[in-house]
């Protein structure tokens, strides 16, 4: 216990270096900009910035990525409130009450509520990060080949359903990812598989693949649409603050949304877009001022924004401990981890504990930067959210090329990135799930190695796959995983529907814009 405390303390000291603080501020600002631009999602932003972190120290790199993540999730609320277009799907529920407040001339108050709730949601979610991750990581020490096989299957069943409209299409996307993950040297016997040259020996570079799938494909999608000016952001004059009384009112809401968002985050597979609706609905159910809902309720804004930022800390837990990123943003973050030569699991809390706790401390500090930068910069960010696609498209394209080339300084990486960009574009045209491909790329080799090694140790006896309690627990989770999309879809639809009933708005339309 004392060890952990001293590690936590040392983590804060390490995180407080000027360079780390600078990176936090920069990351948060970058994240907010990406988040508040409709069309750029959090995953895409983190993917674009990923190559820039390669040369940094692991903890600094991770802090930057974490800062972009938190900033982007909050940033989505700015455009949701001011121009009624959620910058990321995670802020869809914020648009309901937030825009109503803007219409009533309370935009400043709405933005303050969003920022204040995001801060508390994110900060509170760090508690679970600190306490659950080491415990879960310790558990993985018991994981042997068979358990890793089931773990990867669990991850695959969950991702298959997530954020795709049909389970079948999700599974198809996952299978495609698995197929691509077999490229390269076979992990057991070293046989060359589907390798035109030794460039592919270590498989498809996950970072290039995800820059292509998330960022480049978005460029194609944006380029295809007719470029039109976005709605003018409302200029607002009211003060950005809340009275003491108002803060007291939203306090229980923030607390409830924290619990909801955090749990949703820990569950691999459910992301911030579900959490915001659940947080919003719960805030309405418990509210003493139900009559304000639909007309611009600060509780509604707080409920949605605290929940989606509470997801951030929670979703890092399965990523860092089990190596199962629950959603696309953490999948990208895990790419950053792997590139730094770090493997999720017990090592992060043993050999690399100082690095991990520095990252945690940085993640806590990032919340404060988010509060400060969010409050000070809102007016400026509001203008950025209207940036024309004519400027956005070339900027993102350049970043995609530079980013993928910077990894190894190999021109082949750009070819791979572009290939996946086209693939991602086509997949999204067919409603397939690009996040599932990335996750399958990561989980495929773990599963293959687990299965084949388990069968080697038992000399071909399949019983080894069912030989331990952990195996059975994971198998049970797989079943839950397959069924969860059906449940989650219903939950999200119901929550969205309930929210819509209060306002009479078509939320499908709101979330349609950006489906990454």
């Amino acid at each position: 216990m004392l060890d952990t405390l001293s590690l936590m303390g040392a983590g804060f000291l390490n995180a407080l270096t000027p360079i780390n603080l600078l990176m936090m501020a920069g990351g948060v600002a970058m994240g907010i900009i990406i988040g508040c631009m409709p069309g750029l999602s959090a995953a895409m932003g983190v993917a674009l910035m990923l190559p820039m972190t390669f040369t940094m120290k692991p903890e600094t790199g991770l802090i930057v990525l974490g800062a972009i993540y938190c900033g982007a999730i909050f940033g989505g609320s700015i455009s949701a409130i001011l121009i009624h277009t959620p910058g990321t799907p995670a802020s869809a529920a914020t648009a309901i009450e937030g825009y109503q407040m803007t219409l009533r001339g309370q935009a400043g108050k709405a933005l303050f509520t969003a920022c204040y709730s995001s801060f508390w949601g994110g900060l509170l979610s760090c508690i679970s990060l600190y306490f659950f991750s080491p415990l879960l990581a310790k558990l993985t020490l018991k994981f042997m080949s068979a358990e890793y096989f089931w773990l990867s299957i669990f991850g695959l069943t969950i991702i298959a359903g997530v954020s795709s409209k049909s389970v079948i299409k999700g599974l198809m996307s996952g299978a495609l990812g698995l197929l691509i993950s077999t490229i390269g040297l076979d992990p057991i016997s070293g046989v060359k598989r589907f390798m035109p040259s030794s460039y592919f020996a270590e498989g498809i570079n996950t970072t290039c693949a995800l820059i292509g799938l998330f960022s480049m494909s978005q460029v194609f999608i944006l380029a295809e649409k007719k470029i039109k000016a976005r709605a003018q952001a409302t200029k607002f004059t009211d003060k950005m603050s809340l009275s003491r009384e108002e803060r007291r009112i939203i306090r229980p809401t923030i607390f409830r949304s924290w619990i909801i968002g955090n749990l949703i985050g820990i569950l691999p597979g459910a992301g911030a877009s579900i959490a915001c609706f659940l947080g919003y609905n719960t805030s309405r159910q418990f509210s003493k001022h139900k009559e304000q809902f639909g007309k611009g309720s600060i509780e509604g804004v707080a409920g949605s924004e605290a929940a989606n930022n509470a997801v951030t800390g929670g979703s890092l837990i399965p990523t860092l401990t089990l190596g199962i990123p629950g959603e696309s943003v953490t999948a990208v973050l895990m790419g950053g981890l792997v590139i730094q030569g770090l493997t999720p699991g017990p090592e992060l809390f043993g050999k690399y504990a100082p690095m991990t706790y520095t990252f945690f401390a940085g993640f806590v500090l990032v919340q404060f930067f988010m509060l400060g930068i969010g409050l000070l910069g809102c007016r400026g960010f509001a203008q950025i959210s209207r940036l024309s696609d004519a400027i956005l498209i070339p900027c993102v394209t350049v970043l995609c090329f530079v980013g993928s080339y910077a990894i190894h300084k190999n021109i082949m990486d750009i070819v791979v990135m572009l290939t996946f960009g086209v693939l991602g574009y086509l997949m999204r045209k067919f409603d397939l799930n690009t996040a599932a491909v990335v996750l399958a790329l990561i989980l495929g080799p773990i599963g293959e190695k687990g299965l084949r090694n388990a069968l080697r140790t038992s000399r071909g006896d399949v019983k080894v796959l069912f030989s331990s309690v952990v195996c059975w627990v994971l198998i049970a989770l797989c079943v839950v995983g397959i069924l969860s999309p059906i449940f989650m879809n219903r939950l999200e639809k119901k929550a969205a529907q309930e929210a819509a009933e209060t306002t009479g708005e078509d939320l499908e339309k709101l979330t349609e814009e950006d489906s990454v």
Binding site: K142, P187, G190, S198, I339, G341, N410, R452
Partner: protein, 320 residues
């Protein structure tokens, strides 16, 4: 007349310059040092420490270039095809380099490289779990493995990676069979052993630094006992694999460089590795510095190549 004089003068100058160059070659600009693994990897760390202290003796900046991918083969291909003008040198990692040639990962062979010197050497050891009472010593392990075919399992750090080669060399020399369980790296390899999935493992001594209490070291792959492990027998004294095995980081230039280039770098790196400041830095980083001259390094590369090729024809565990 003037023209003839000028020509004669120019000729003299050319000869003089040529004479200077051959007597005392030195790089005429920053030297590229190709490391075939990513920045921050083990080889990269040790290479950067050496480069820092060698600049004084080389007289030029040493620029580390990380050319990663293809299990190292992309960097080695680049080194093999670089201009042999002495401006590009690089690190070769044994035995991964040897395996990459056996598996035809690139188009190069050992003849495409000219050895300069050896930098770091780590020796392999055979370990079991400290609480595993079945194997108090190496003989007990060998006996158990011989009693029943394919009954003993060893975790490795990847197919035909250094620790797999070590386990295979041990098994070949003791004439027993075992099942190898390839993991992604040494950390996972050790986890697999600790979780009792594997019975033994071959690792490098430095891999278990800080967790020595978890394992029992049964033998070392060396000609004589290691000074830091005086109680641990060598495989040679027990009658098995007779020689050194482990991993080596050698420095080489593309084949075709002149003898002077080799001699220059050999002397420069030797001086750097004897520099007290370097020695202090190396000690702090836990690097096992082991200078070998060009001839000895070339011999080591050739010997490891022959060995890797002999293993490739040996037996690997066939999958069910």
């Amino acid at each position: 007349m003037k023209k003839v004089l000028a020509l004669a003068l120019a000729l003299c100058l050319v000869f003089a310059l040529a004479a200077v160059a051959s007597a005392d070659w030195a790089p005429n600009g920053p030297v590229s040092v190709i490391v075939s693994y990513k920045a921050g990897s083990g080889t990269d760390n040790t290479a950067r420490i050496l480069a820092k202290y060698a600049e004084k003796y080389v007289g030029q900046t040493l620029v580390i270039e990380n050319v990663e991918g293809g299990s190292g083969s992309i960097g080695w291909s680049q080194l093999a095809s670089a201009d042999p003008d002495g401006q590009t040198i690089g690190f070769i990692n044994l035995p991964n380099f040897s395996s990459s040639i056996v598996n035809e990962m690139g188009t190069y062979t050992i003849d495409d490289f000219a050895a300069i010197c050896n930098h770091v050497t780590e020796t392999s050891i055979v370990i079991v779990r400290a609480d595993d009472d079945r194997f108090p010593d190496l003989q007990a392990l060998v006996d158990a493995a011989k009693k029943e075919e394919w009954s003993i399992k060893a975790s490795t750090n990847g197919p035909q990676a250094s620790n797999h080669i070590g386990a295979q060399a041990f098994a070949n020399s003791a004439e027993f069979t075992y099942i190898d369980i390839p993991q992604g790296g040494t950390a996972d390899q050790l986890l697999s052993l600790r979780g009792a999935e594997a019975d033994f493992a071959v690792v490098k001594l430095a891999d278990i630094a800080g967790q020595e209490a978890e394992y029992r070291i049964l033998a070392v792959f060396n000609d004589e006992r290691l000074p830091e492990l005086p109680d641990v027998p060598t495989l040679k004294e027990l009658g098995y694999y007779d020689g050194w095995l482990g991993s080596s980081r050698c420095i080489a230039a593309p084949a075709g460089v002149s003898e002077d280039v080799i001699a220059f770098y050999e002397a420069a790196f030797k001086a750097a590795m004897e520099d007290p400041e370097y020695i202090a830095a190396a000690e702090q980083a836990g690097m096992a510095t082991d200078f070998k001259d060009a001839a000895a390094t070339a011999e080591l590369i050739a010997q490891q190549q022959t060995f890797a090729e002999s293993l490739a024809e040996g037996f690997w565990y066939e999958e069910y």
